[in-house]
C-alpha cells in the first residue's frame, strides 16, 4: 500500500471544501499533481497545495492508496466523501461531511467530527475517536433513502438525528446521544452505549435500536413486549424489548405486522 501524507500548513480564512481528498481522486497521481487538485473556499477556486504539503506516493488504484492527514482539519469539509476504496486517517479533527455518500474503504478520524458524518453512506467504515456533531449517518434533506450500508463507530458522544431514514448498516455510539435516533428508519441497526434523552425510534417502521444506558423520555408509541438476551457490538446483556412506533404505518409479512425493535438494557 502506498501512502500520501497531507500536512496542513495554513488555516483557511473561511472553510475549505475538499471533495477531492479521497483515495479515488489521489490514485495514480504524483504529489505534484495532487497538490494541483481543485478545492473551494467560498466561490474562490484554490489548489490543495495552497493549504497542504503533499508527500509520499499514491497507489495505482483507490484500493491501494492510503491517505494520512497529519494535522487539524477543523475547517476542512467533505474529507473522504463519495470514496469507494482505500483508507484515510486524520490525526486531528475534521469538519462536516466526513465520509458522506461513501461507498467503501475506511476513514479513521482521531479527533472530533462535525455534523453530517456518513450522510447517505452506502458502504465502508468510519471510525471517530472523539465526538460527532449532529446528523450521524442521516439522509440528505428530502431523501427518504438514508444510510444503506457500512459501519459508523463514534467512540465519544453524538448529537441529534442519528440514522434518520436509515435503511441498512450499523451505527455505534460509545457514549451518549441527544434526541432523534433512527427517525423514519426502515432498517439498519443503531447501538448507543450511553444514555439518550428521548425520541428514540420516532416514526420508525423497521430496524433495531439498542440502548445500553437510559432513555429519559420514552415515546408513547413504543410498547414493552419481552425480555431478551442479546449480543451486540461485542457485549452481551439482557434487554427489555419494545416494539413500535405503533403510531406509524408498518408492512405486513405472512399476515403479521412487522415492527421496529427497541432494546433497552434491563437494570440488573
Amino acid at each position: 500500500m502506498a501512502t500520501i501524507t497531507l500536512k496542513p500548513f495554513k488555516t483557511p480564512e473561511l472553510i475549505i471544501e475538499c471533495n477531492n481528498i479521497t483515495p479515488d481522486a489521489f490514485a495514480g497521481k504524483t504529489p505534484a499533481e495532487i497538490a494541483e487538485l481543485e478545492i473551494f473556499e467560498g466561490k474562490v477556486r484554490e489548489k490543495l497545495g495552497d493549504f497542504f504539503s503533499v508527500t509520499g506516493s499514491s497507489g495505482k488504484t483507490a484500493a491501494e492508496t492510503d491517505i494520512l492527514i497529519d494535522g487539524d482539519c477543523s475547517r476542512v469539509k467533505y474529507i473522504g466523501s463519495k470514496m469507494t476504496a482505500g483508507t484515510i486517517t486524520v490525526n486531528g479533527n475534521a469538519d462536516m461531511y466526513v465520509g458522506g455518500w461513501m461507498k467503501g474503504g475506511k476513514i479513521h478520524v482521531k479527533g472530533n467530527v462535525d455534523s453530517f458524518c456518513g450522510i447517505a453512506m452506502e458502504g465502508g467504515e468510519i471510525e471517530v475517536d472523539g465526538n460527532a456533531g449532529n446528523y450521524v449517518g442521516c439522509a440528505y434533506r428530502g431523501d427518504w433513502r438514508g444510510m444503506r450500508g457500512g459501519t459508523i463507530h463514534i467512540h465519544g458522544n453524538a448529537g441529534n438525528d442519528i440514522g434518520t431514514f436509515m435503511l441498512g448498516g450499523t451505527i455505534i455510539i460509545d457514549k451518549n446521544a441527544f434526541i432523534h435516533v433512527s427517525t423514519h428508519a426502515e432498517g439498519g441497526t443503531v447501538v448507543i452505549k450511553g444514555d439518550v434523552e428521548g425520541r428514540v425510534g420516532g416514526q420508525m417502521v423497521k430496524g433495531d435500536i439498542y440502548v445500553f444506558g437510559n432513555v429519559q423520555y420514552m415515546l408513547p408509541g413504543f410498547k414493552e413486549i419481552d425480555r431478551v438476551r442479546k449480543e451486540i457490538a461485542g457485549e452481551s446483556a439482557t434487554f427489555r424489548q419494545y416494539i413500535g412506533d405503533l403510531g406509524e404505518r408498518h408492512p405486513k409479512s405472512k399476515g403479521k405486522e412487522i415492527y421496529a425493535n427497541l432494546y433497552v438494557k434491563a437494570s440488573a
Binding site: 466561490k43 434526541i179 432523534h180 425520541r199 420516532g202 408513547p220 408509541g221 403510531g247
Partner: protein, 457 residues
C-alpha cells in the same frame, strides 16, 4: 379632498389581509386614516409618514459615525463588497415583494453568495419536514368555509396574526360553517396559557419541548393502540377525548408555529404533525398549514424554488450548482462558524433577531442593510440603504401564508429619489457586471420581457 383607497394589502403578518382601506391626503403623500387593519398594521401605514425616516443611504466613517452618501455610491459600495467577498451572505426578505426577491436572487447568483431568508430562523424546519413528508395543505378560504376542528399547535395568532382568527380560523361564518365559532372546536397546544389558549375548548399545557411525544401519542391512539397514563404532561383521557373529536370532525385544520419549529426536534415536530394529518385523513378530511410570520415570507420560497430549486439556505458559491443543507448553509450557522465574509441584510432586522454572537461574527466583515427604517441591523451596518415600503409606497406580488399570491397596491408616493428594493438591486447587478466586464444578461431579459408584454397589450 382626501380620498379613500380600498382593497389595500397589509404589509404586516402572514395573514396578508387585502381588505384594508386607507384615507390618503390631497397631495397623495400622506395616509390620514385606515380602516379594517389591526393595531400593528395600522401603525405600519402611519409609520411611513414619520419625519424621522431616513431618505438617503448612510455610510459608516472611519470614526464610527454615519454620513449620508448618494444612491450611486451605495450601489458601488455594495457591488464591490459582493465581488470582493469569497462567500457573501444575503439574508432577510421578510418584508419585501417577490419582484425585489427576484432581483436580489440575480445579484446573489452573480456574487456567488449564499441566499437565505428569515425562514432560516422561523419556518425553515417546516420546509425540511415538507421535503421529507409532503404538505397536505389547503387555502385559508377552505379553513373558513369547512374547518370545524381547529388546532393551534405552538402558535398564538391572537398576538402574532391578530386578524387570523376573525378572518379565517375561529370566528367567521363560512359556507359549511354557518354558525361560526359556535360550530368550531378549538384545540390549543401550548405550554403557556396564551390568549389563543384562553379561547380554546381544549388546552393541552404540555411540557415545553415535548411536542413530538404528544404528536406520537395522538397517532398511536388513532391507530387503536394504548398510550401511557400521561404523555408530555398531558392526561391520557384528555388526549383520547381530543383524538375522538378530531376523528368525528368534518374537517380538521392544524396550524403550527414557532412552538414546533424552534423547540428541540424542529423539523421532526412538523414532520410528525404532517404524518398525523395524513393519519386523520383515513377518518375524515384534515389539512395542515404553517403560520408564516410576515406578509410575504412565503414569497422567497416560491420565487427561489422557481429560480434555483430550493426555497432557502441556497449556497450559490459554485455557480450553477446550487447547494442547500440547513445546518451548514443556514445563516446563523454560517455566521457562527465564520463561514461568510460579507453580510447583506434586506428587509428584516438580523440585528434584533439573531443571536448576538452570530452578529459579532458577521461584524468582522462588511455589513450592508437595505431597509426602509432605522433598526438594529441598520445601526450596526457599514452601509444603510433606505428603500420604499412595499405595500404602501411600492406595489408588488406577495404570497400569503397559504401560498396564495396577492397583488399588493401602492397607496402613496414614496419619498423623492428613494428606490424600491428591486430598483436598487437591479442597479447593483448592473454595476457588478460593469466591474467584472460581463454581460448583464438579466437586465436584457427583463427589458425583453417588458417590451413583449407591452406589445401584447
Amino acid at each position: 379632498m382626501p380620498k379613500w383607497i380600498t382593497q389595500v394589502g397589509c404589509p404586516y403578518c402572514g395573514s396578508s389581509c387585502d381588505d384594508i382601506e386607507c384615507l390618503v391626503s390631497d397631495d397623495g403623500k400622506k395616509i390620514l386614516e385606515t380602516r379594517n387593519a389591526c393595531v400593528i398594521g395600522n401603525e405600519i401605514f402611519h409609520h411611513v409618514s414619520s419625519p424621522d425616516r431616513p431618505k438617503r443611504p448612510r455610510m459608516r466613517q472611519p470614526d464610527g459615525s454615519m454620513k449620508e452618501v448618494t444612491y450611486d455610491e451605495a450601489v458601488d459600495y455594495t457591488a464591490k463588497a459582493l465581488i470582493k467577498a469569497k462567500k457573501p451572505l444575503i439574508y432577510g426578505f421578510g418584508s419585501t415583494n417577490c419582484e425585489g426577491m427576484s432581483a436580489v436572487a440575480r445579484v446573489a447568483e452573480r456574487a456567488g453568495a449564499v441566499l437565505d431568508n428569515c425562514a432560516s430562523i422561523c419556518h425553515g424546519p417546516s420546509f425540511l419536514a415538507i421535503f421529507d413528508n409532503g404538505y397536505p395543505s389547503c387555502t385559508l378560504g377552505e379553513v373558513k368555509n369547512r374547518a370545524d376542528v381547529v388546532l393551534f399547535w405552538g402558535c398564538n395568532p391572537m398576538h402574532a396574526h391578530p386578524r387570523h382568527t376573525s378572518r379565517y380560523s375561529i370566528f367567521p361564518r363560512g359556507f359549511f360553517t354557518t354558525k361560526g365559532q359556535m360550530q368550531r372546536t378549538i384545540i390549543s397546544i401550548d405550554p403557556r396559557e396564551t390568549d389563543t389558549a384562553k379561547l380554546a375548548d381544549y388546552h393541552f399545557m404540555l411540557n415545553q419541548g415535548h411536542d413530538y411525544e404528544l404528536f406520537d401519542a395522538f397517532r398511536t391512539v388513532l391507530r387503536g393502540h394504548d398510550i401511557p397514563a400521561e404523555v408530555a404532561g398531558c392526561k391520557r383521557e384528555m388526549i383520547l377525548e381530543a383524538a375522538e373529536k378530531m376523528k368525528n370532525a368534518r374537517f380538521v385544520m392544524i396550524f403550527f408555529g414557532m412552538g414546533c419549529t424552534h423547540t428541540d426536534g424542529r423539523n421532526h415536530n412538523v414532520d410528525i404533525a404532517i404524518s398525523l394529518t395524513r393519519d386523520l385523513n383515513t377518518h375524515t378530511k384534515a389539512s395542515i398549514m404553517a403560520m408564516r410570520g410576515h406578509y410575504n415570507i412565503a414569497g422567497p420560497g416560491q420565487v427561489w424554488s422557481w429560480q434555483f430549486g430550493f426555497p432557502y439556505c441556497i449556497d450559490l458559491s459554485k455557480g450553477t450548482r446550487a447547494h442547500m443543507n440547513p445546518g451548514e448553509t443556514s445563516s446563523v450557522d454560517l455566521a457562527m462558524r465564520d463561514e461568510v465574509d460579507c453580510f447583506v441584510n434586506v428587509g428584516t432586522d438580523a440585528g434584533a433577531h439573531w443571536p448576538i454572537a452570530a452578529i459579532k461574527h458577521v461584524k468582522k466583515h462588511p455589513v450592508i442593510t437595505v431597509d426602509p427604517n432605522i433598526c438594529m441591523a441598520s445601526e450596526i451596518a457599514d452601509l444603510h440603504v433606505p428603500v420604499r415600503v412595499v405595500g404602501v409606497e411600492e406595489p408588488g406580488v406577495v404570497y400569503r401564508m397559504d401560498n396564495v399570491p396577492i397583488q399588493f397596491k401602492k397607496v402613496i408616493d414614496g419619498p423623492e429619489g428613494v428606490p424600491s428594493d428591486e430598483e436598487f438591486f437591479d442597479k447593483v447587478y448592473t454595476r457588478m457586471c460593469e466591474l467584472t466586464q460581463t454581460e448583464p444578461i438579466w437586465v436584457h431579459v427583463k427589458e425583453h420581457a417588458k417590451a413583449s408584454s407591452s406589445l401584447e397589450h
